[in-house]
Amino acid sequence: MTENIEKIKTEIEIKLDEKFKGAGLLFWEDNGLEFIYTPAKFYYKVVEYLKNEFKFNLLTDLFGADYLNYPVPLPDNNRFEVIAQLYSTVANKKIFIKSYYPENEPETDSLTSLYPGANWFEREIFDMYGIKFKNHPNLKRILMYEGFAGHPLRKDYDIKKRQPIIGPEN
């Protein structure tokens, strides 16, 4: 079993390097988890390739992160990150795909055409961080109410700021 995992891992690295030559993909392993760093431009293609070639048939998680004022900055001074966690029920294997986005108009491709379950995850990322997803069927706020201004999980959203619908500002 262990041998199988090792084999698949190296295969992924080799094949991705081959397919996305010069794209600037980074690979590393941490605590037995594998990560792929990809620029936003190749995010969708990498996920699509992993799904079709390596049978990563399950999207287990999809979330965002804000690296404003973080001690270790993202590549090219990017600010936002979208992290997708894929799982292969065939090879019993997990992989993380991280992609990074600039501060102004962060935008990427939606994964809904590959994994329908990405729909609400992407709406949440849009709601909390303001990252837009192209080709998303219904990109609107999911947790906050209509008329809410700003994106509350951004680091520069004031922690004391309140936007109640009714009642006093508290």
Partner: protein
């Protein structure tokens, strides 16, 4: 007393306030507005072990139009606040409100963009229950406090202190 002896055994005399308050306080119809773990604790107090039917408040109604006591049990977000206000407005007079637990009373540790910092910013509250979550004894204590409050109430509007 002298009068009652003339009526025989089937009639007693009392004041209308006493009679109405007696019937109101022993037939509270609570409506749980449960949004978090406090609601689970409330279920425990309705269950046979703690059994709030001993105090006449066991007939839980899930319609605001059939209840006279709303128990707000759990975190209320700004998105939910208009719903709570709407439900409170649908309840018929006389009505009472229990704010159960830290979240409903003050926002608790959810001091953030999403949470209402105490439901008393939206609707009037009669009794607050501290705790996270409160024990069923505390809920029973709050219902007894509501009963005491009902006892001081009056049927005639012009007698009421509030009006």
């Amino acid at each position: 007393m002298g009068l009652e002896s003339m009526f025989g055994e089937n009639i007693i005399t009392t004041q209308i306030n006493e009679l109405v308050n007696w019937s109101r306080k022993y037939s509270l119809y609570p409506m749980p507005f449960g949004t978090a773990c406090c609601a689970i604790e409330y279920m425990a107090s309705v269950g046979s072990h703690y059994d709030i039917s001993r105090f006449g408040a066991e007939v839980v109604r899930f319609s605001p139009r059939q209840s006279d006591l709303i128990i707000v049990a759990g975190t209320i977000s700004h998105k939910l606040a208009p719903v709570l206000k709407n439900i409170y407005d649908q309840m018929l007079e006389p009505k009472w409100v229990i704010s159960m637990g830290a979240c409903a009373s003050s926002g608790g540790f959810y001091d953030n963009y999403a949470t209402v910092q105490g439901i008393d910013t939206i609707i009037p509250v009669d009794v607050y229950i501290p705790g996270c979550p409160p024990r069923p004894e505390a809920i029973i204590g709050a219902i007894i406090k509501i009963m005491e409050k009902i006892n001081k109430d009056t049927v005639l509007r012009y007698e009421s202190k509030e009006n």
